[in-house]
């Protein structure tokens, strides 16, 4: 009822609700929040009520280290909502965190990103959870479009631009021209799959069990997507499956490359299939300019080399790839009226 009034006390937000990280851009400001999409929940008693213990960075540190009554949950999976209520609570927490006002419940207009491959049900779920978290109005924008805007590609011009956004849960491939998406594909492979592959590889080859955080650290430290002459090593600690005792061992970058081959191949084939489906005129533009990598996956060493060798096209990594999507959504927010066509209608 007082939505319009509360609107005065709220600032419009663009949210990149990612599998790994949630970023929030505030209209007229910049990115004000960048936290892991993790919620820690404490259960009081066996059938007691559940309360939120921590959200974001604090909760992520608990991941895999929680006692029995606390559960650290990642409510997003593969770019979409896996746990509706927890996602809503997390969004509510983040929205409140970026609003300083105490007098009113914030009721902002929100632009929120969805993977292009998200189904109607998944989109609906994201929209509903944002409304449940207090949003007055929710606009959805497809991630490839947001990533392209954020990377600074000339999306509104009559020239084809190709963007590959490798996120935590999904990889989005999009070809964009004249402010619209010409082709888009989404594969459910991303940073999480890389971690998973590393865990599996180490269990298979070393008989050691490592956690998700360790796998992520290995990926960041010595992970690479293309063989290079320089071989790097890293000491890792994990539990020996046979003995059941924690042990330390050393892995090399070549081993990790081998571990990552499978998910990387999925990405490469998604890119190739996108190029196949692209109309020839736009294909020519892409051959001239190349494709742009965004998202956290673009930080994987030599992933641009891999795509360059596989496709024979120039590949560049966007400036600050981690925040491209939210910056793009932010620009869409700033120019909401002018860029009306970039929002999806459903």
């Amino acid at each position: 009822m007082f939505g319009f009034l509360r609107g005065y006390f709220s600032t419009d937000l663009a949210i990149d609700l990612g599998t790994a990280n949630t970023l929030i851009y505030v209209r007229g400001k910049s990115i004000v929040l960048d936290e892991p999409s993790v919620v820690a929940i404490r259960q009081e008693g066996p059938s007691g009520k559940k309360t939120i213990q921590a959200v974001g960075i604090e909760a992520k540190q608990m991941l895999g280290r929680t006692p029995g009554n606390i559960q650290a949950i990642r409510p997003m999976k593969d770019g979409v909502i896996a746990d509706f209520n927890i996602t809503e609570q997390m969004l509510k927490f983040f929205i409140k965190k970026v609003h300083d006002t105490r007098m009113f419940h914030p009721s902002p207009r929100i632009i929120i990103c969805v993977p292009s491959g998200a189904t109607q049900v998944e989109r609906r779920a994201i929209r509903e959870s944002a409304i449940g978290a207090g949003a007055r109005q929710v606009y959805l924008i497809e991630e490839p479009m947001a990533a392209a805007i954020g990377a600074g590609l000339p999306v509104a011009e009559a020239t084809g631009s190709m963007v590959v956004d490798i996120g935590g849960g999904t990889t989005e491939v999009g070809v964009i021209s004249l402010g619209g998406v010409v082709y888009t594909a989404s594969v459910r492979v991303g940073g999480d799959k890389f971690d998973e592959s590393i865990i599996n590889y180490i269990r298979r080859n070393y008989g050691m069990l490592i956690g998700e955080s360790t796998a992520e650290a290995i990926k960041k430290e010595i992970g690479s997507a293309f063989p290079s002459s320089e071989v790097r090593e890293m000491e890792v600690k994990g539990r020996n499956l046979a003995e059941g005792i924690p042990r330390s061992f050393t892995v090399t970058s070549n081993e990790i490359l081998e571990a990552l081959t499978e998910p990387l191949n999925t990405i490469v084939s998604a890119v190739k299939s996108a190029l196949e489906q692209t109309p020839p005129e736009l294909g020519a533009d892409i051959a001239e300019k190349g494709m742009v990598l965004t998202g956290g996956g673009a930080l994987l060493r030599d992933i641009d080399r891999l795509l360059m060798e596989e496709t024979g096209l120039p590949v560049i990594v966007a400036d600050d790839p981690l925040t491209c999507v939210v910056r793009g959504s932010g620009r869409a927010l700033e120019e909401m009226d002018r860029l009306a066509t970039v929002f999806t209608n459903d």
Binding site: K29, G56, V98, G152, K289, V292, L313, P314, I316
Partner: protein
């Protein structure tokens, strides 16, 4: 676009390439670019290349290939800094301190304050207006009554004696209740109609002594009333008109046949008499403690009394 670039970037890349013994074709092959694009990069001719975002990417790739610090070169090309600046640290303690909303709050509260002030002013103004109206009626009534109805004598019955013991009230003359009042006999009634506050007993006695109306010419009487008690309302001759006696604080409101309105507060023990033409529309507050008579005939207010207020029309 070209002029804002320092000439260095392309030359540095070309020198590094030559130092490694690579040809432009080698680099083009490695970076999947055309030789034309490599030439343009080395000559800093960025207008022959796609948008700056791509140029920065190309330079970054090229620099990495020849083993140079990519970021320094990209910075020297310019433009990238504006984008990377928007990265922020994790959100710890990052909140919007004073959004422009505060201004709205001030406006809202200010508006509310002004509104309340206006309401208060309006209220006091209306209240004052009401009081002024009541006073006005009370003051002008004697004059009006005087001029409008000069014929009947208007002896004043000293009712407003503040000593309270108003014997005069008790001496209505029933004989006078029919028709217009007889002409006064000037000089006949020697009893001063208006008691001075100090000499309350005098009027109390006088009606008792001369039973056929202590009267005085109207003008004189009114003048006397004014002299002594300027706030006194219309006085009817004793026993004539409407007469009220209040046991407790109460009020009356009377509208007579001419549409004149009388509003009076009667203190406890006070009396009041109102002349006018019937029919009277009468409202009496605290009716239980008020006795009313009209031309000497007592009227029982009981049947007309609601909760505390009696309303009746007297023909």
């Amino acid at each position: 676009m070209t002029e804002q670039m320092p000439a260095g970037a392309g030359r540095t890349l070309a020198q590094a390439r030559e130092a490694r013994g690579l040809s432009q074709a080698d680099v083009a092959d490695k970076l999947k670019l055309t030789s034309r694009q490599i030439e343009a990069l080395e000559a800093d001719e960025y207008d022959k290349l796609p948008a700056m975002v791509f140029v920065r990417g190309f330079i970054r790739n090229y620099a990495r290939l020849v083993g140079l610090d990519a970021e320094a070169l990209v910075q020297s090309v310019g433009g990238a800094g504006t984008v990377t600046e928007t990265i922020t640290a994790p959100s710890e303690g990052v909140t919007i301190t004073r959004p422009p909303l505060a201004r709205w709050l001030v406006l809202l509260l200010g508006g509310l304050g002004i509104f309340l002030l206006l309401v208060a002013l309006l209220y006091t103004w209306l209240k004052r207006g009401e009081e002024a109206y009541v006073e006005e009626v009370a003051v002008e009534q004697p004059v009006e009554a005087d001029t409008a109805d000069p014929l009947p004598a208007r002896p004043v019955e000293g009712s407003r004696s503040e000593n309270g013991d108003l014997v005069t009230v008790e001496v209505p003359i029933p004989a006078l209740d029919a028709g217009p009042a007889p002409a006064p006999a000037p000089g006949q009634a020697t009893v001063p109609a208006v008691p001075s506050p100090g000499a309350a007993p005098t009027p109390a006695e006088s009606p008792g002594t001369s039973s056929n109306a202590p009267r005085q010419p109207a003008g004189q009487a009114v003048a006397q009333v004014r002299d002594v008690q300027p706030e006194a309302p219309v006085k009817a001759p004793a026993g004539k008109g409407l007469h009220f006696t209040a046991g407790e604080d109460s009020w009356v409101q009377v509208v007579d046949g001419d549409g004149r309105r009388y509003s009076k507060l009667i203190p406890a023990g006070g009396t009041d008499t109102i002349a006018g033409r019937p029919p009277f529309r009468i409202v009496v507050g605290n009716a239980a403690s008020v006795r009313m008579s009209y031309n000497g005939q007592g009227i029982d207010l009981q049947p007309f009394t609601g909760q505390r207020v009696a309303r009746l029309t007297l023909e």
